[in-house]
Symmetry: D3
Subunit: 170 residues, 6 copies
């Protein structure tokens, strides 16, 4: 994760894929797309006070529950992405991995989520949703110690498979 | 929303409320808490390329669907917070309001969510979840134009009701 | 159920309660409403071919499963109304009753659903949703015999409790 | 949509596919069926008072929210059909399209839903469920102006793919 | 938990509360019941091979994930009881506690779940559902080592609040 | 179902498949597994007092609702297994069959559930979850007559398809 992020803007913007010619929201028709192996990785972070960070760190030494609960919440959320994001396709994921780790420099917690599938459409939203919900779970468990925590830098870091090719945030 | 945020750290950190003495994750017992009117407001943003922003703006002029779909997704997510966040209490919300607005300065979209209830426990997580899912929905609908969008600054801005008193991010 | 229905149009139409002054969809804020005992009854029907009706009737004589499955589906759907209808409030229902009965005159099946609660807001949507899903379930179980079945006359027949007073379709 | 509908009754009624020889409800085993491209279209309508219709029409001119919210609710419901209809198979839809349009002649709103998939079983129930939930959503948003609205004519209008061949309501 | 369990059979059996006079399944109407503090405790166990038990025990020493994942799954399931059990009332639980512990004598895992609420109806089903799903989760995580594990002795051990008074299994 | 069950312990225990090298819970990656026809059968039972059994039996003679409601609850639960069991893969089941039958010798009810799919991973959890939820449903409907009922012997009895080969409990 480099601190400076560079945009990967398309030279010629395509119209919004999820809006039809009449301006109406729609699911993209993936019927004609080939089934390919797809993978997406997303990351995000939550910043907190030093005092709150110390509590999470102490908890980790004991049993590690805050981070583990957040990881499980992320996995569960990935499986329910199509229920949360209105125009997402329901997908039978092959795998979801969520890792929540202490980041003393923030201070706070960094989450990384990876989703994999063989399907007609990609799994960016599954990886991003897993990330966001894992971070919200950290907030929930630590909010008694710090209500001013901020969730940020939730973004796609890598994606492969599908027509749009490979994407990697540098 | 001031760019500089000040931490509201407690002078003496209380232990993590969602972890018991044996280090095990738990729901907080709210049985003995009084029912009071509670309210929470959360905000967040998604930054995107100028080209993507132009598409969302053009869409808004036509029918406004990206922002409206995001708002509805946020409302629906608020109602399902207890399914997503493992240790959250199920709550029968009195109201949820979600507003998604273009922010040319980012460029991108800012989301503000407010939740209200009369209950034994607060609705911060409902407001934050609505915010996060509304922003993920913008990502989903605009990702065809920019995969490098970043969701950030998701945080509680105001909270009232309950024993911990009023919280306001300055 | 009289075949001719009379409209109960308000003399002066109020603006749409679920749309705010800016034209944005919203949940109604029920925070200030009193908790009262509320009840709503909805009805609907599905018409089918004589051959399909004969199959449902024969099934009923044996074990009655089509009608019983439809009733259970209606009860389950009533409990999930707030997940289906975007601006509905989540409610902890006191009771739902769904009755599916053969109606030789259609021929087909008539469904009646009643929902009860003590709450700040009414349960019309719960009764109507129970009705609609029970009828869809009949369609699903009988569609192998008749794909041309039609669901109709799904409507509120009675409502009590709440500020808007009693409603009864004559 | 012709006002007079003709039944497409099978010459020899097959037994109910969703009831086994002992009269017990069951899911149909689709394990041996081939995967084919399938499509289903359903329609339905909601009739309302002139006053209520005027409000919906005025809202559409402003931002069109009632119709757009209904469309999104229909899409979301299609994705959850297997949770609502007890014996439906869970399916990973390729696409759902829902269109809600003003119909001055009713007066009211007409909804059309189309579902597509490559699977072992059809998507009639997904199209019908989308239709029914979109119509219920219109009811919810407009009920403050007219509680006597009626949902009707919810039916399959077209279906292709699968062993039972093409179905088209004339 | 005594190995010998004694039945607490009522002297005069009441009719089934969840079946109406016509033999139709129904939700019990709790509208007239008073809101009281209610509590229910359930227990259950899963027996496994010594080899599988050794793996779970080794895992617990490391990070304790099998038992912790099971506890979280139980909490989440308790919150969704009304979606799983057709005639259960939706309830806003005050608290759920789930404890999964190694039991060398089985060998296997014992789960204890406690649910609390102030409501018109009890939380036995919530406690039992939490127990059952926690045990199923152990099965899922350990099945690669032993497919012959057996879940058993899932039962209510204590209940208080409500008209039927206190229940305690001796 | 023989009363004496013999363990099928692996000669050399493999490590827990759902825990990674760092001791963290994970979903198994099924991306590289072949799609094969898979089938799993699970069984379980609920024991009750003679008085409660007499009520269920009488109900069965009338309309059979307790057993039928339990079967439907089992089918619905099978479809939602991945929402309940944290590390389960979402699967589009080909079929689920659940049979609940009176067992005078217990006295009580025996449930048998069978799940089928063509997929990369098996359906043991779907069969076991269907079983457990069907038994919980019997408990719910009969608990007014006997709160001391016990659910037990929930276990896999047969499994075929997939790399681990055929499993049959003798």
């Amino acid at each position: 994760m480099s601190p400076k992020r560079r945009r990967v803007s398309p030279a010629r913007p395509r119209p919004l894929t999820h809006v039809d010619d009449a301006g109406r929201a729609r699911m993209v028709d993936v019927g004609a797309k080939p089934v390919t192996a797809r993978r997406a990785v997303a990351e995000g972070e939550i910043r907190m006070s030093r005092a709150a960070f110390a509590l999470v760190k102490a908890n980790k030494v004991a049993k590690g529950d805050v981070l583990r609960v957040a990881e499980l919440a992320g996995i569960a959320a990935a499986k329910r992405t199509a229920e949360l994001i209105p125009l997402c396709h329901p997908l039978a994921l092959d795998q979801v991995t969520v890792t929540a780790a202490l980041a003393a420099r923030l201070p706070g917690v960094r989450v990384r989520a990876e989703a994999r599938i063989s399907a007609k459409t990609g799994v960016e939203m599954e990886a991003l949703t897993a990330c966001a919900v894992a971070l919200l779970t950290v907030y929930d468990m630590v909010k008694g110690a710090d209500r001013a925590m901020t969730i940020g830098k939730v973004r796609l870091v890598e994606k492969s498979g599908g027509r749009s090719g490979r994407f990697a945030r540098r």
